[in-house]
């Protein structure tokens, strides 16, 4: 389980997170919604130790991320897949090399790596793109390769940073289906998004981040029935 406990972070004196507390239950997709710039991506990066919070703590499987040494942090990252907003594929490598990079780090042999690359590309329905470079792919395909790179490691958790932003409705639906399929494989998902259609589609639980804190968290039904005016305004898209 991932637990965020009073997480706080400021950049240049401007507080972005001001005490985020949230539990991400195992085996479900939890979606953090909130306006752009509300600190959703910062929250994800705190979980994998890419950003160090000013206060509070992140607990993953009982371990406090901020207290881990380099070796333990590397071990933790082996259990967490991260899908970046713009995919963050290595543009000097082919699709297959992008997916294989993390596997090589874990010491798998060439046959195992080839099999996992093939399997993960099959899951995201991109078989046959192994030799293509990221520049030859569309935005949606790149994001799917990003998911393939994450699931190839067979992680326990996957963190998705704005997985449907900038995609057409059909490709967004494909991404939603992928996130649900991944959850059905037993992977716990934490998604940050401001796309309410996608959030209600993939989320088992939804939490709204507002003014640096979790304004409300609950099941999909609870959020849909909320009477909180701020949450209502956001999910209905009212200005």
């Amino acid at each position: 389980m991932i637990q965020l406990d009073a997480l706080a972070k400021a950049f240049g004196g401007r507080p972005v997170l001001a005490g985020v507390t949230l539990e991400v239950p195992d085996g479900q997709n939890t979606v953090i919604i909130g306006p752009s710039g509300s600190g959703k991506s910062v929250t994800l990066k705190c979980i994998v130790g890419l950003i160090e919070p000013d206060a509070g703590r992140v607990v993953v499987d009982g371990a406090v991320v901020q207290e881990l040494d380099r070796e333990a942090l590397t071990d933790l990252r082996g259990r967490i897949g991260f899908v970046f907003q713009f995919a963050a594929l290595f543009d000097s490598m082919t699709v297959a090399e992008n997916i294989a990079l993390g596997l090589r780090r874990r010491g798998y042999d060439a046959d195992e790596i080839a099999a996992r690359v093939e399997d993960s590309l099959g899951v995201v329905e991109l078989a046959g793109t192994e030799r293509k470079y990221p520049a030859e792919l569309s935005g949606g395909m790149r994001k799917r390769v990003g998911i393939a790179r994450a699931i190839a490691l067979k992680p326990r958790y996957i963190l998705y940073d704005e997985p449907t932003s900038g995609l057409d409705p059909v490709t967004s639906t494909v991404m939603d289906q992928l996130m649900m399929r991944t959850r059905d494989l037993g992977v716990t998902g934490l998604v940050v998004s401001h796309d309410m259609r996608s959030a209600f589609c993939v989320g088992d639980r939804i939490a709204m981040l507002h003014d640096g804190r979790i304004r409300q968290a609950g099941t999909k039904a609870e959020i849909q029935a909320t009477t909180d005016p701020v949450v209502r305004q956001f999910i209905e898209g009212r200005p």
Binding site: K45, V48, G49, L50, E52, V65, Q66, E67, L68, D69, R70, L73, T74, R77, G78, I80, G81, F82, F84, Q85, F86, A88, L89, F90, D91, L101, G102, R105, R106, R149, L153
Partner: protein, 249 residues
């Protein structure tokens, strides 16, 4: 968790911390060793033409300049001595270093800066790679190893072009040129230049890496990092040049 230091914490602190991190990452041989040869080719072999171009014209100018200075005052065979000493000890390493600070430093800063702003560096970390071991160490090692090789070529070509110029444009024969060259030659002339150039390579690559990894978002941020990497690389060369002169001469 290791705290991240950025250039905003103070440049000296940032350079110090990152240099220590790079030294620590040297132990991660499994990560950087497969990347070293490709970097040696990219940063070293591909830089040979520009280094040789500079060396040719340095040799020509030095021989003409020394002839102009010596005529009527010093025997002309001293042209060989001045060309040899100057190319091997100073102009070969420094001019080659400066040229490569532009080519290598800019290339590294732009590449790593782009990786930084497109989150590829973050992606490396989430895949359990240490960016210092994967990105910084192979580049710094490659530059440290290849700068002396390129400088050695530049020394040879610079002296050769000085010799050809002396024979064809000055009233100097080949035996006279080599008489001057040999009379004042010490083996130290060569290793002094090569040691300097190795330190220049390390400094240029390190500045490129540090500036690239600290690039701010956007094309402008990458551009600024690239410019600063080149300026810092050139400044580091001049400081190291003075340092080695103080220590080894």
């Amino acid at each position: 968790m290791a705290a991240r230091v950025s250039v905003r914490d103070g440049f000296v602190a940032y350079v110090g911390r990152q240099t220590l991190e790079t030294a620590r990452a040297l132990a991660d041989v499994r990560t950087w060793s497969p990347l070293l040869l490709a970097q040696m080719r990219h940063l070293g072999v591909d830089s040979v033409p520009i280094a040789l171009f500079i060396a040719i014209f340095t040799g020509i100018v030095l021989s003409l300049l020394s002839s102009y200075i010596f005529t009527g005052a010093v025997p002309l065979y001293f042209v060989g001595a001045l060309v040899g000493k100057t190319v091997m000890m100073e102009l070969g390493p420094v001019l080659t270093g400066m040229a490569l600070a532009g080519r290598v430093g800019a290339s590294i800063a732009a590449e790593l800066g782009t990786m930084k702003v497109t989150e590829q560096v973050d992606a490396l970390e989430t895949l359990a790679y240490d960016p210092n071991a994967y990105l910084v160490v192979p580049r710094v090692l490659a530059a440290t190893l290849m700068f002396p090789v390129i400088t050695a070529f530049a020394m040879f070509v610079g002296v050769t072009s000085g010799w050809i110029t002396s024979v064809n444009l000055l009233d100097l024969s080949t035996p006279e040129f080599f008489k001057g060259l040999k009379q004042f030659y010490r083996f130290k002339d060569i290793w002094f230049g090569l040691v300097k150039s190795a330190s220049f390579g390390a400094a240029v690559a390190l500045m490129g890496c540090l500036r690239g990894l600290d690039a701010k978002s956007g094309a402008q941020g990458v551009g600024q990092s690239t410019t600063r990497a080149v300026v810092l690389g050139c400044e580091a060369i001049l400081v190291l040049d003075a340092f080695w002169a103080l220590v080894l001469l």
